[in-house]
Symmetry: C2
Subunit: 255 residues, 2 copies
């Protein structure tokens, strides 16, 4: 099976390297950014291009892994062929391929990827979609070679899953950034928070997060809440503190 990667960002990098590692054959990398294309192709030992017209037409699988804003344009700029075209985007419907490819689908790994950080693909949930049963079977075979957690999910539900992932990962990570800023200002080493952060994540493997909630907002300890608000000088951080504390308290009252 010949594979082309259309995109060379975080997700494209880790997914293509994993496919390569398990023995799949990546034949070409396309990216709008020459440096990204060259770097990834170098790791995969394959040619690269920055011209959509130069994308080879005889591959079996085309993996589109691009920012949503450019995905439609890049799809439209590639000549139709007999290959199976899939994207890896959480919030894009499968039907984006409808007018440009005969065979299409979605291969969505639910994980946060950074170019230089290897991850264990075996435990990553993959969510698939395809426009024919035959291609659903092909995609399933590919995904099962990468992970033990493969299932099918509609575009609509995948969009909700992506929204939940933005909260669980992107927003959580930004909260880590804000916590780190508070410590940096006081010259306290940021890594003192790591055991707390790890335990917060570990807890919800065995408890619902609503049951795991601790701290001043769930106790409605106004004493602490007001002190904290007085300490926050950055208006955005103050707004985050107020909004999330209120939301924690509201959630507790609803239970």
């Amino acid at each position: 099976m010949k594979i082309v990667f259309v995109g060379a960002g975080n997700l494209a990098t880790r997914l293509s390297l994993e496919m390569y590692r398990v023995g799949m054959s990546i034949k070409q990398v396309y990216s709008q950014t020459a440096e990204s294309a060259r770097t990834l192709a170098g790791k995969l030992g394959c040619p690269w291009t920055i011209s959509p017209e130069a994308i080879i037409s005889d591959a079996d699988l085309y993996v589109f892994s691009l920012k949503d804003a450019v995905l439609a344009d890049v799809i439209a700029s590639i000549k139709p062929n007999e290959g199976l075209w899939v994207h890896t985007a959480g919030s894009m419907p499968m039907q984006i391929f409808e007018e440009h490819a005969k065979r299409y689908g979605v291969l969505y790994p639910l994980q946060t990827f950074s170019k230089n950080r290897p991850v264990n693909f075996n435990i990553i949930p993959f969510f698939l979609e395809a426009n024919t049963q035959a291609d659903a079977n092909i995609l399933k075979k590919i995904a099962c070679a990468l992970s033990e957690k493969v299932s099918f999910l509609s575009s609509d539900k995948r969009r909700s899953l992506h929204l939940a992932a933005v909260f669980a990962c992107n927003f959580t990570n930004h909260i880590y950034t804000l916590a780190g800023k508070i410590l940096e200002e006081e010259h306290i080493p940021v890594d003192v928070l790591l055991p707390l952060i790890d335990e917060t994540a570990a807890k919800i493997h065995t408890m619902k997060p609503a049951e795991a909630q601790t701290g001043p907002a769930i106790r409605y300890d106004e004493n602490v809440i007001n002190k904290h608000l007085a300490m926050l000088t950055d208006p955005d951080m103050k707004a985050v503190y107020q909004l999330i504390s209120r939301s924690i308290h509201k959630e507790a009252l609803n239970e």
Copy 2:
């Protein structure tokens, strides 16, 4: 060394049980709530009381582990004695004891505790404070019997640490709750998020969170952001999405 626990909540429960486990002698538990006092005392095999006047006066260490709002009142309601009085609160100054005890300090473990969830104390950072060097040494001995990460920190800096912990733990956990709600509405099993949540926490052991940031807000993918906002019907969740996305974007521009 005889120890009295004043408080029987999440932190008091886990800390007293760990002290008991490593061989320290808990002589009494006080709580305003009879059931909490009885339950914890039962686990520790010691007497309990709900009357501050009934607290024994010949203990060596009194650990006050109470909601901030009631801490001052409970301290004032106990007859002064020769013991070392410490509290475990992030945002309370050590000086809260000044007019009520001769020997006092702080024993603050930076972790999230739930009554029924054991945690590994060995890796929990403990932050100490005491009003005399002699008691600083005693507290250090006690903390070092529980953890390998013991240091001294002023009340002011501890307050900032607590604020950072509220972000890193309490707010993060609530974000997990919100993510779970999105999935529950779509009947998608919430545990599909666990590998993502674990990786998000694991990443920042080796990368700064600002470098680990991924997702639509850091890419400023308005396409996705607007779709997500349109999907959120709960006004608080929509406000959280907008505020944190803006904050992620602002942070990225500052770098």
